[in-house]
Structures are given as structure tokens and as C-alpha cells.
């Protein structure tokens, strides 16, 4: 964690298939926002967005990173993974569409709601994905 007078930066590594640690980054982010006195409505949005992002990395990617910057105005979240990238982004954004395996679904994931949930919580949402390379999601959630 780094901090200057106007912003705080948090960085997390998320491993592929690591369901035992998955949820730790989002839980930690939530705790910090609470300590900063951020409104619970905003905390909920950030929590959902970061949790879904974390699970997406664990379920679908070869691993990745979540970088969060908290400023007096907003929370910026950048989620970057190391591939394999999304084949059809329009489909992936559709509620109910999922490429998760049966094993993952049995754990309660793979409802096809991850990216749509993130988008719903975000004031700004951008997704770039390149097959064979990876996916980057940029999220901004305003504090007011």
C-alpha cells in the first residue's frame, strides 16, 4: 500500500484457480474503504466489482493483478490478467453467458453475471481484451 496526501494505492496479485485466497483482495479493499469513512452504498459497489473481478481472474485467466487507487473523488480499479483473453466480448457481457466449467459451477460460480455485475456497479467501465494476450478492465466508481 502506498499513500500520499490525496490518494491511496493498493495492489493485489490474484492467482489462477486459487479459490482459497480469492476474495481476500476485495475483503481488504472493503476494510480500507470502511476505515476511510466511505459511504456504505459506494463500498458495496466497490466490493461487488472487485470481488467479481477477482473471481474472474481466478476462474478464467492464467493469473493477474488488481490495482486500486482511492482519491477524494473516486475509486479507480484496474484489473489486468495474463490471458487467454475473451473470444467474444459482447457475449461475455451478456447476463447468463458463461464459459466456466461444470466443476466451477458446482461451487456457485459461473452464473454468467460477473462482468454484467461489474458494469452495473461502475460509473465508468471499459473492457479491452485480446485473444492470446489478456484482458484489461478499467472501472471508476465515484464517491459522491
Amino acid at each position: 500500500m502506498t499513500k500520499d496526501s490525496n490518494s491511496m494505492k493498493l495492489n493485489y496479485d490474484v492467482d489462477s484457480n486459487d479459490f482459497t485466497r480469492a476474495g481476500e483482495a476485495s475483503s481488504n479493499i472493503k476494510k480500507i474503504l470502511k476505515q476511510l469513512g466511505v459511504a456504505s452504498k459506494v463500498i458495496r459497489k466497490v466490493s461487488i466489482a472487485t470481488y467479481e473481478a477477482e473471481m474472474n481472474i481466478a476462474i478464467h485467466s492464467y493469473g493477474g493483478k488488481i490495482n486500486v487507487e482511492i482519491t477524494p473523488k473516486e475509486v479507480q480499479i484496474v484489473v489486468k490478467d495474463n490471458g487467454p483473453g475473451i473470444k467474444d466480448v459482447n457475449l461475455a457481457m451478456k447476463e447468463g453467458y458463461s464459459t466456466a466449467t461444470e466443476r466451477i459451477r458446482e461451487l456457485g460460480f459461473g452464473a454468467g453475471m460477473g462482468l454484467p455485475n461489474i458494469k452495473k456497479c461502475a460509473d465508468v467501465f471499459e473492457l479491452k481484451s485480446e485473444e492470446g494476450k489478456g484482458t484489461k478492465v478499467f472501472i471508476k466508481i465515484f464517491l459522491n
Binding site: 482459497t20 476474495g23 470481488y51 460460480f109 452464473a111
Partner: protein, 110 residues
């Protein structure tokens, strides 16, 4: 209503993370798809589910439910129990189905 009242009246088995049961309970949500629970459950809800692996604790903490109630007497992973204790999320259990428990909760006025 306080959580302790729900636990006592409905004979719920306390598994972990319970403390004194003073948490406020307001409504309930039933679901096993974690994304749906994340987006629909509200804070202070009771969460009725058959999911028992570690990730339910993360979801419960993130949406601030007042307790997780595992229905149908499903077996709970040891890691989940440990985590519930360490982050103090009340983890409860019943042999009732989600429907049976929900009807009782409604009668109780949750």
C-alpha cells in the same frame, strides 16, 4: 430482531463465528449462485444456502449479511469454519430445507 432470537426459536446449530448473537437481522435471501447473492442480498439479511466452501465467507463479508445458514444439513468444509471464526461471520446450520426454514423465518417476523 437479534440473531440470537432466530437461533433460539428455530433451533439453529451454531457452527462458527457467532460471538454473542447481538447482530441485527432484517429479512433473508436464499441463493446458491454467488454472483446473484452478491448483487441481490442486502446487509443484515440472513443468507440461506447449500454452498459451503470457503468463498461463501468472502461473499457474506462483502455484502454484510448477519449470518450464513447452511440448509439441508450440508457438510461444511473445515476451511470455511476456520475462516468464519477468524472474520467473525456467524455460520449456522439446520437440517430444514431452504423453503421450510424460510416459512419459519416469515412466521417469526424476520
Amino acid at each position: 430482531m437479534e440473531l440470537s432470537k432466530v437461533v433460539d426459536e428455530l433451533n439453529l446449530e451454531v457452527i462458527a463465528g457467532y460471538n454473542d448473537g447481538k447482530k441485527e437481522v432484517n429479512g433473508a435471501y436464499i441463493g446458491d449462485l454467488l454472483s446473484l447473492v452478491m448483487s441481490k442480498a442486502e446487509s443484515n439479511n440472513l443468507w440461506l444456502t447449500i454452498q459451503t466452501h470457503l468463498n461463501v465467507i468472502a461473499v457474506a463479508t462483502l455484502v454484510d449479511v448477519s449470518a450464513i445458514i447452511v440448509v439441508e444439513n450440508m457438510e461444511i468444509d473445515e476451511d470455511t469454519i476456520k475462516k468464519a471464526d477468524s472474520v467473525k461471520v456467524p455460520l449456522l446450520k439446520t437440517k430444514l430445507s431452504a423453503y421450510e426454514l424460510a416459512s419459519k423465518l416469515a412466521k417469526l417476523g424476520v
